[in-house]
């Protein structure tokens, strides 16, 4: 492919960034880690005359956890920094795990979690755990801010509710309750350095009677967008954990999947693997919650 030519703008504030977006609205893209964007520009899958970089915008790379507000990840927070952050590892281990196994070392060092979400690949590894943790995204434009639940954010492969002049400023995740467990498992043909062919994340907490509450299950790479599994969640909510029930819920997760055959796996294999991974994720969540760990 021919080398693309474009102008890169490096604003220092969010306001400046929004102004630049407006000024070059005819042909502009936002640049965070660039690990997807630059490949698309080079490959000719996308074109832009202007790139507005978020890399020098003050405060955007923050990773901040507080016991009242939960976790805030700025749009510039690098995947590898999120994976290594002690608060993320302690309170959101499934997210930390996703951030430590996805892509490659080089991509994790450059790429951002916000970019992973805004890129809206069906296989986005951070999306499934963030759905399980009830994450939402903060979107900002010149008129103001809005907060959108992650499950309402994705619209299709590469499509989100982001308006053309809007910037994904931050990701917010609530504080998980005590006696909780969470997990993210993924499969790919190669043990590492690969895109997930199937990914499943889960979260659950136990109440004082030992019943499951706040159950969330989400899958990646098995539908046009990362998806929740509402039927399976409903089956488990308020119930005592029982191996047969967990197995039935894992089967129910398959019904949330709408996989296709592609280069990485067949739809058939993906469906079967959603069940296997969901079963394992639920087991892991349960033992973590019962063990009281994290």
């Amino acid at each position: 492919m021919a080398t693309p030519h474009f102008t890169v703008h490096q604003p220092a504030t969010l306001e400046e960034a929004l102004d630049l977006l407006g000024r070059h609205r005819a042909s502009v893209k936002l640049l965070a880690g660039g690990t997807d964007l630059i490949m698309k520009l080079r490959g000719g899958a996308m074109s832009a005359d202007h790139l507005v970089s978020l890399n020098r915008v003050g405060g955007l790379n923050r990773i901040n956890y507080q016991d009242e507000d939960g976790l805030v990840l700025g749009a510039g927070a690098r995947i590898s920094d999120v994976a290594a952050h002690p608060d993320v590892r302690k309170h959101y281990p499934a997210l930390a795990h996703a951030c430590s196994v996805m892509a490659t070392t080089q991509i994790r060092n450059m790429g951002t979690v916000a970019g992973n979400l805004a890129n809206a690949a069906p296989s986005a590894d951070t999306a499934a755990p963030l759905l399980a943790y009830r994450g939402s995204v903060v979107l900002v434009e010149r008129g103001g801010r809005r907060q959108v639940k992650l499950e309402e954010f994705f619209k299709g492969p590469g499509l989100t509710v982001l308006e053309p002049m809007e910037i994904l400023e931050a990701i917010r995740v609530p504080v998980p309750p005590g006696r909780a467990g969470s997990s993210y498992l993924r499969l790919s043909a190669r043990s590492q350095v690969d895109i997930a062919a199937v990914g499943v994340a889960g979260f659950l907490a136990l109440d004082l009677d030992g019943c499951m509450m706040g159950v969330r299950l989400a899958c990646a790479s098995v539908a046009p967008t990362p998806v929740r599994c509402p039927e399976a969640e409903a089956m488990l909510e308020g119930q005592r954990p029982d191996p047969r029930l967990l197995a039935r819920a894992a089967v129910a997760c398959v019904r949330a999947a709408r996989p296709i055959d592609d280069l990485r796996a067949t739809a058939n294999y993906r469906r079967a693997m959603v069940q296997v991974l969901a079963g394992r994720v639920l087991q892991k969540c349960l033992s973590m919650a019962q063990g009281g760990a994290q």
Binding site: A189, Q192, A265
Partner: protein
């Protein structure tokens, strides 16, 4: 004579520092004044007649300096098998027909890459599509259109081998089984994509810098396709980032660069992109392999019938050699009283298959070794015991084909059994865990002169100087395997001087002695090594008289060359430094430099190879029976490569072979639809990463190959073969699922276990 300080030492590559610091120059690093950038227009359809090509818009684009199509070229067919002109089925650019998606149709040279690519998109080609055939079964069916008019039913060549009484063998056998295996095409995935730069030279000559395994072959075929005398073409190989068989022919961009350099009077460079390499580059032959084998009830081999269809893609490439070797390796390793082979090389409308590490052996040995494991299971004999019962030994003859002059196969089996803890792990099986064995043999270069060279197969020139240094000139081609280091070790050991005292000039066809057939078939250490030894011995013959004369030695003395000295073995004080000895010889020759030529051509070595390597490998695997994922926990290898010249280099070859074998066994595969390759990036064409690599334990069996330099034979290629059958047997041992069609993917495992519907 063995010099343990040099032969068998672990000497790091002499070019390692340059490479890891980025100073080493590869072809694409070169820029010449006035250089143009080339781009190639490829066929978008798998099989079609070209009705019309219009290049006028491309020519009119600003910055475009030349556009060529097949009509502009001399239209001389080429191919490596010059001995059989009918097999030469390629043209430098398509004329009349295209035969696969990616077939080269036209080329552009322009001031920059972008313009060259844009000009390609402005070339109008009208195609009349013909039926496309994407499997050997389809293209050989009754009434299929011919991809090459000259072929019979799209079979470009057939090879037969027959010895012993096959019918009697099967009749007397107590146990006979017949299976069909399917092996797939994979990519060489060399890290340096092909790159070629040509510059016009005075007198209508041309110089080509190119990423190649075969400078001499490129020189000859480029000359014939350009219509120039052979020595008007100079081919220079710089550092080359791997080849694995994918760079052992004249390639079309090499022709286009040279052709357009002559036409425009300017240098022209072509560099392929990874997507070009994966979409239309050479690959390993896929094959259906039908094998019937008979044993006595005690496990002795009685007869084998081996029938193979090689999926050659659109052109012969190195297919004829792969067809020959596939038949050879169908019956290597063991004593077969009767054997019949029929190999047919079949055209399909896919990117041509060519030489690739193992050259027919990985496919034949996956089938043969897997079938050996299946027979062991049925006969109730341990797979290693069954192999020991039938294993070849030193001195064995393959009728009319070869004599095995050294063979450490039995020792390899015994050793690998012991080091892997085979007997215990085979008996005390843990759920999901398995252990399997696979073996190999390979050639140390080919005997058959398919290129029909008039020169020696390998040559070397050695010059020695009065400062105690030497200069080695050879056309032997280091493409990353380390021959530049190993050949200097051989010369250093022979002359008794340090490796650091040797300057090397390699792979420049205008400077280095004719000829060397290049890097393929694991030929370089043995053949070029022997040429170096011969040249060095001639130099020694020039120096020895100097010592005798100067010290007035009795003729019974023997002269040693060690530690940069030349001296009497019995009276080490009678001698002088290597440099001084050269100085004195030079005086006696009144200034005529001491230069010697050495060569090697195998003679009276049968039809296949002067020497064969052997080995056995064990894989320990774990299979997740719910997901089908396979993890290889450890590889154990015992192998016989003769005397290793450089242990570190041998170890590197072993690691690289396991890596490539692992990818072949488990994950590498071209996803094809109607002749189009869909996975054209390393994200979707999955080669194993360093993180997939299992730990490895290995041992070299102590043998001495009389035909090799210092007893050495091949170590770079055969080792790629045992990994897939060893892993497949490990998976069977772990789960009961027997894979007969590579690669062993998780869905296949689950389907095999009845846990997933097809």
């Amino acid at each position: 004579m063995k010099n343990p300080a040099i032969i068998g030492a672990s000497i790091p590559r002499l070019d390692a520092r340059q490479k890891v610091t980025g100073q080493a120059l590869y072809t694409d690093d070169l820029t010449l004044p006035g250089m143009l950038f080339g781009a190639i227009l490829r066929s978008p359809v798998p099989h079609a007649r070209i009705k019309r090509i219009d290049v006028s818009k491309a020519k009119a684009l600003a910055g475009v300096k030349d556009v060529v199509t097949g009509a502009d070229t001399p239209q001389v067919k080429f191919g490596n098998w010059r001995l059989v002109p009918d097999s030469q089925d390629e043209l430098p650019l398509a004329v009349d027909k295209v035969r696969f998606i990616g077939d080269e149709v036209a080329a552009v040279a322009a001031l920059d890459k972008e313009t060259a690519l844009r000009a390609c998109s402005l070339i109008e080609v009208e195609y009349e599509e013909l039926p496309g055939y994407f499997s050997v079964e389809d293209s050989t069916q009754e009434g299929a259109a011919l991809i090459h008019a000259e072929s019979e039913g799209n079979v470009s060549l057939a090879r037969k081998i027959k010895y012993g009484d096959l019918e009697a063998g099967f009749a007397q056998a107590d146990y006979v089984r017949e299976d069909t295996f399917r092996v797939h095409a994979v990519s060489h995935a060399y890290l340096e994509p092909c790159s070629s730069l040509a510059a016009p030279d005075e007198g209508g000559r041309v110089t080509l810098w190119t990423s190649t395994q075969v400078p001499y072959i490129v020189q000859c075929l480029l000359a014939s396709t350009l219509g120039l005398p052979e020595n008007h073409v100079r081919v220079i190989k710089l550092n080359t980032g791997g080849g694995f068989g994918g760079k052992m022919e004249l390639r079309k961009w090499e022709f286009c660069a040279a052709f357009m350099a002559v036409r425009t009077g300017r240098p022209v460079k072509f560099t392929l992109r990874r997507a070009d390499e994966l979409a239309s580059g050479r690959r390993r032959h896929g094959m259906p392999i039908r094998s019937k084998v008979g044993f006595s009830k005690d496990g002795l081999l009685m007869a084998k019938d081996f029938d193979v269809l090689l999926d050659g893609g659109a052109y012969n490439s190195m297919g004829p050699t792969a067809t020959f070797l596939c038949g050879n390796f169908g019956a290597m390793l063991y004593r077969y009283p009767a054997y019949r082979y029929l190999g047919r090389h079949v055209y399909t409308n896919k990117p041509p298959a060519g030489a690739m590490r193992g050259f027919g052996a990985p496919q034949a040995l996956f089938a043969a070794e897997t079938q050996m494991n299946m027979a062991a299971h049925d006969l109730g004999i341990d797979p290693i015991d069954l192999r020991l019962l039938n294993a070849m030994e030193t001195g064995d003859e393959i009728p009319e084909v070869a004599t095995i002059s050294s063979c450490g196969f039995k020792e390899s089996l015994v050793k690998v059994r012991q080091m892997s803890g085979w007997d215990v792990k085979r008996q005390e099986k843990k759920p999901g865990h398995g252990i399997g064995v696979g073996c190999y043999s390979f050639i140390s270069g080919g005997v058959f002169n398919w290129f029909n060279t008039k020169y020696n197969f390998a040559s070397a020139e050695v010059r020695v100087f009065e400062d105690g240094t030497a200069h080695l000139l050879t056309m032997a081609t280091d493409i990353g395997q380390g021959s530049d280091t190993v050949l200097r070790q051989i010369l250093a050991a022979e002359l008794g001087i340090g490796v650091d005292k040797i300057r090397l000039t390699a792979s420049d066809t205008a400077v280095t002695p004719k000829a060397d057939l290049g890097t393929w078939g694991s030929r370089v250490t043995l053949m070029a090594g022997n040429a170096v030894v011969q040249a060095a011995k001639k130099i020694k013959e020039m120096l020895i008289p100097v010592v005798f004369g100067h010290f007035d030695l009795n003729q019974i003395h023997d002269i040693a060359f060690e530690n940069d000295r030349v001296f009497s073995k019995a009276r080490p004080d009678k001698g002088f430094s290597f440099g001084e000895c050269v100085y004195k010889a030079l005086k006696g020759r009144r200034g005529e430099p001491l230069t010697a030529f050495g060569a090697y051509t195998p003679r009276n070595k049968g039809l296949v190879s002067p020497a064969f390597s052997f080995g056995a490998q064990v894989a320990e695997v774990e299979v997740d029976e719910q997901t089908g994922l396979i993890q290889v926990h450890k590889m154990y290898t015992a192998h016989d490569c003769g005397v290793p010249i450089n242990k570190m280099a041998v170890e590197g070859q072993l690691e690289g072979s396991i890596h490539m074998g692992l990818g072949y066994a488990l994950m590498e595969d071209f996803v094809m639809k109607d002749g189009r390759t869909l996975n054209t990036t390393f994200l979707d064409y999955k080669i194993a990463t360093a993180q997939d690599m299992p730990p490895s334990q290995s041992v070299e069996i102590d043998t001495y190959e009389p035909e090799g330099p210092f007893g050495a034979k091949e170590a770079g290629e055969g080792l790629v073969s045992p990994t897939a059958p060893a892993i497949a047997e490990g998976v069977f041992h772990a789960t009961g699922y027997r894979c007969l069609d590579l690669p062993i993917t998780p869905p296949k495992v689950l389907q095999g276990l009845g846990r997933l519907k097809g």
